[in-house]
Amino acid sequence: MTGSTAGRPARTITVRAGVPAAFGLLKRGCRGIAWYMQDLMGDNSYRNYLEHHRSNHGPEYPPLSERQFWRQRMDDQNRNPGARCC
């Protein structure tokens, strides 16, 4: 259940004319959808965790590995399930 603005495609609009512009727009749209889906589904959770860890702990606390991180997350969910509505 995490997400962030990290990795969101840049908002700069490159002004070009004709086909390249349309192509660029399409590429940006696809990148936006990919960013949204990955954040929504939770693909970026580990990256967000690393970032959180870096800014809150010194190098003396090594972060969890990706595998450990996901295991811990699932164990947390086991202990504290979230409801799903009808």
């Binding site: 259940m1 995490t2 997400g3 962030s4 603005t5 990290a6 969101r8 840049a10 908002r11 949204y36 889906m37 990955q38 954040d39 929504l40 589904m41 939770g42 693909d43 959770s45 580990y46 967000n48 965790y49 970032e51 959180h52 860890h53 800014s55 809150n56 990706e66 595998r67 991180f69 996901w70 295991r71 997350r73 699932m74 947390d76 969910q77 086991n78 202990r79 504290n80 399930p81 979230g82 409801a83 799903r84 509505c85 009808c86």
Partner: protein
Amino acid sequence: MTSELRRTTIEAPGDEREPDSSLPPTSLPEAERERERKWTWPKVLLWTAVALLGGVAWVMIALVRGETVNAIWFVFAAVCSYLIGYRFYSKVIQRYITRPDDRRATPAEVKGDGKDFVPTDRRVLFGHHFAAIAGAGPLVGPVIAAQMGYLPGTIWIIVGVILAGAVQDYLVLFFSMRRGGRTLGQMARDELGKIGGTAAMVAALLIMLIIIAILALVVVNALGESPWGVFSVAMTIPIALFMGVYLRYLRPGKITEVSIIGFVLLLAAIVAGGWVAATPWGAEFFHLDRTTIAWGIIIYGFIAAILPVWLLLAPRDYLSTFMKIGVIVMLAGAIVLVRPEITVPAFSEFAGGELGPVFSGPLFPFLFVTIACGALSGFHALIASGTTPKLIEKERQTRFIGYGGMLMESFVAIMALVAAISLDRGIYFAMNASAAATGGTVEGAVAFVNSLGLAGVNLTRDMLTSTAAAVGEESIISRTGGAPTLALGLAHILQQVFGGAAMAGFWYHFAIMFEALFILTAVDAGTRVARFMLQDSIGNFVPRFKDTAWRPGVWITTAIMVAGWGFILILGVTDPLGGINTFFPLFGIANQLLAVIALAVVLAIVAKRGRSYFRWLWIIALPLGFAAIVTITASMYKIFSPVPQVGYWANHIAFRNALDAGETSLGTAGSVEAMEAVVRNTFVQGTLSIVFVTLSIIVLITSLAATSRALRNGGGENHEDPPVPSRRFAPSGVIATKAERAVEREWAALPAERQPETVRH
């Protein structure tokens, strides 16, 4: 006394929130906001156009009485009304009731543990919240309510969500966020005291069980005697297991990737289901009667709830989220492309009476409990207090996520309604009248539906058999519960865009599949949450139960909860009077009573905020009063109505007297066992009705007492967490305004080490 109390109200916060002057603003300056509020010509024109289009659409569906009405008008009426509700009404609520302050840090920012409390991008959180609140509920209720004609349901879904459902979701989300993400039960105890709080907790637990049971009943009815459906839905279990193992051992964290793989496998399972059901062995092996399927779901529910989350629940949840978004986009697209003509009348022959074949009881109040999810759903209060408030990045975003998320669910309900009413009415009633009425046979259904005297309906045997054959089912008679009707409606619409008549079977089973997927996820997650609540309660007496790692405790509490909903499910499946037709009102009443509880808690909270809030209490009192009247009246009908089809106890007594008199059949119950079953079922239903309504009235009274105390004292105790200055900024709506983008750029210009985490470009 008064002055002391007043000091603690929200109107006089203890400290002034000094912004850190070296940082860019954490909240949009008031002057900018004032400028954005100003009406410019383009804005005036835009909103006039929205209002005009919405008005025309409402006239088309509500007033113009042609032979048919085009489905596109439903979409326009809904979307324009939502836009106006969101742009105007939710802003009134924001301005006068919630009064968010972006200078205040949210719990996600304050606690920020990287796990439960994470400031999350508003658009992503909107998706999470929506996936958590929307499921099969908004797809089922409107279909059943279509018995009354399309107009009552449409009005209630659209008006109800703007004035009631979205208001509840928004307010619960906001006040839970101000309390560090406290649950509804905890807020009830804080605001209403011990009695009100305990009643609210017990009610929430019971309501959860009844909701799980009735959702499971919907799945059972959709899969009974359907080899294709049983095969493809059963395949979701190995697919989810595979996804779980893949994520655990092969490629951890690749969630989108595995969801796409799972989705492709799911499509393959649907296609394979068609082949399997066409073979003699497949048809025999997967042809299960409803009682067997019910037992299957009960055993499945128990195992799924004690298995580790990573193996089954989490992967199926990913799949379900993925499907939810995809299906809604597809459905909306198909309705706009196909624009089916609706022949159902605005008000049907049953709108004036109380003996309709799909559900019994008069339009008021039963229409308003039949459509719960999509208009006003109390269950959302459990989600809006809990996970979502801990992930909010900025206070002002609660309007978009809470109010907006619910509008989205309402739109799903409207689309489900459109899909259901695009079907021929004869087929609709043949599918939704109970087997007790149709006898479950083609002849019985034809005779029954044609005897209803519906205008323009002339059902033939051929219509029923050819429709069933087209979607690969043995029969579509008395497939109650809403899901099969919606699936047929969807197949009808989608085949016109993708694949033609040859694809009708695929689309039908695709729809059954996603409804089953949503429901099974809700069953599994609901059982876990209910178990968690029970462990916590028993833990007060036997402390060992609080230890969630103690396996025997987990097994015992899971078994109790599964037995609870499993019992009701079996009663529903074996009910001689038609199961869903008698149980569904209980589902809606339970859900709306939870809404009454949630709104009652919110009413007390807002009254305690202080004098300047009193004038605006009607915003909560309106939906609270309406929901209370609807649910209490509906409960009274169910408890006291002398009409056996409507009142549980009247039916109970009628059948008991008949048994005492030595009769061996009564109405549709053809044997002594069936009559005994009716006596037992009506006793359970009647008792549950009494328990629910009593608990809610207790909560309501404690809330009114707390509210009137606050009114007399000019406010009350403030249970919010102390304010902490925020150190980050994010836009509040889905699209950042010009001024918001300027502030965002200021933040982006800060050196990396001064930026809040997760905001960097």
